[in-house]
């Protein structure tokens, strides 16, 4: 069982034009920086990207948008990105906006072998258009389908050679959900450790969900909104 790849270029090299890929992260937090850079370099096109956000103009998925590699974004929030806006308005880019919790749960559903889920999010709004609704115990729910993605690309803090993953802080976000949901799941980690290093009680994503893993490098981990408080005076 060899899941360890040497680098991002090898891990993503079979991703073909027209693929549907999930990319972990919330904003710029916990995004698979190495794989995004490799996809940009590789020039894979016509991608459908499922990711909560679309990056900023010069980082994250924004880098793929700059190269016009993305055909469609499925996201909950796509602000902070001028090139995204330009492509959307010019009709080059298609976007499907999905409530954040629905996005997360549709990933989980795929990983848990559930074909669809019921959620109240979006009932009575334009998100509900064309969707089946159903009343349970007096409350209205939408039927939302599990995602079907060719690849899930996630970023973890630590991972081992068997693909077990541990995330750090809020960089966890969508990563474990997408890791479960991809037909092929590619994980980049800040620290790749030998099997047996991670505490089995503290693994967030069991290795069964991960097909490829590699030690990432040169993480920039850009901060989108640097907010600080003043040191209290003595």
């Amino acid at each position: 069982m060899n899941k360890v790849f040497t680098n991002a270029a090898h891990a993503v090299e079979d991703i073909a034009d027209g693929s549907t890929i999930m990319l972990g992260g919330f904003g710029l937090c916990g995004i698979p920086e190495n794989c995004i850079a490799a996809l940009v370099k590789q020039g894979t096109k016509e991608l459908t990207c499922i990711s909560n956000n679309a990056g900023v103009d010069d980082f994250g998925i924004g880098l793929m948008l700059q190269q016009k590699q993305v055909k469609k974004m499925i996201s909950s929030y796509v602000g902070e990105n001028a090139e995204f806006e330009r492509q959307l308005l010019s009709g080059e880019l298609d976007v499907e906006l999905v409530p954040q919790g629905t996005l997360a749960t549709r990933c989980m559903a795929a990983g848990y072998g559930m074909p669809a889920i019921f959620t109240p999010a979006g009932v009575g709004t334009e998100v509900a258009q064309g969707k089946e609704t159903r009343n349970f115990n007096g409350k209205e729910y939408l039927l939302e389908m599990a995602f079907d993605a060719d690849y899930a690309i996630v970023k973890a803090w630590k991972g081992d050679a068997l693909g077990n993953l541990v995330y750090k802080d809020t960089a966890r976000n969508f990563n474990p959900l997408m890791a479960m949901a991809g037909k092929i799941t590619i994980a980049e980690v800040e620290e790749l450790v030998p099997a047996g290093t991670l505490d089995p009680n503290q693994v967030h994503t069991p290795g069964i969900y991960v097909h490829r893993i590699f030690q990432g490098q040169d993480y920039e981990k850009r901060i989108e909104q640097r907010t600080v408080r003043k040191q209290l005076p003595f």
Partner: protein, 218 residues
């Protein structure tokens, strides 16, 4: 006199109860955190995956892996817990979050809320707002009573695309505290020095005013 945004946040903070788990939206709602009474244990939930959100970090202590739903750098507190986004919205959907405070562009007299989309303008997305309004037990809207053109944001029905239907329970503006009751805005409190007439004039939807509306207390 009309409240400023800090006072709106301060008034909303009076709605907190000991042991509440609270989700605060972006903008004025975020400011509520500054006014939590010291004698109350209130735990803030950030829907990107954190319970027990602390204040902004000290300069030099920012961590790119530790942000809130507004993508701002934050800190944790003793007893915090991280989780994935499915569990985060799971706890929201199952009603474990006691109070959600969020901003709005429009609220209707039956509690509909619109806060995510303006036709003709670039749509940035609903983020977690639709999940929050569809699920929260108790939703307070923090907003200005009127829009920049001076038009009422408290309407008989929303003109903008909805975020959720029949979900808002209470509204705190710079002028008033109002509750949604039987398809109307029921006036509960006035801002200090603000007249019922001014509130009436700036409320387009059905307004219920009983006698002796008290001023807000701070």
């Amino acid at each position: 006199m009309a409240l400023d945004k800090y006072q709106i946040a301060q008034r909303i903070a009076q709605e907190l109860q000991d042991g509440f788990y609270v989700n605060l939206g972006i903008g004025i709602p975020t400011l509520v955190a500054n006014y939590i009474p010291a004698n109350l244990d209130v735990i803030l939930q950030s829907e990107n995956g954190l319970l027990g959100m602390g204040p902004f970090p000290l300069e030099g202590e920012e961590d790119a892996d530790l942000i809130n739903a507004g993508k701002q750098t934050i800190t944790t507190l003793p007893g915090s817990a991280f989780f994935d986004s499915a569990m985060s919205f799971g706890m929201i959907r199952s009603g474990k979050v006691d109070l959600t405070v969020l901003g709005a562009m429009e609220v209707s007299e039956n509690g509909d809320i619109a806060n995510w989309k303006i036709p003709g303008k670039m749509v940035k997305g609903m983020g977690g707002a639709m999940d929050l309004v569809a699920s929260a037990k108790n939703i307070i809207v923090a907003m200005m009573h009127t829009n920049p053109k001076g038009e009422s944001k408290l309407l008989s029905s929303c003109t903008l695309p909805l975020t959720g239907k029949r979900c808002v329970k209470k509204i705190v503006t710079e002028l008033a505290v109002l509750e949604i009751v039987n398809g109307a805005f029921k006036l509960l409190e006035r801002a200090p020095g603000v007249s019922v007439d001014e509130i009436r004039e700036k409320t387009a939807g059905k307004l219920i005013v009983e006698t002796g509306i008290p001023e807000m207390q701070f």
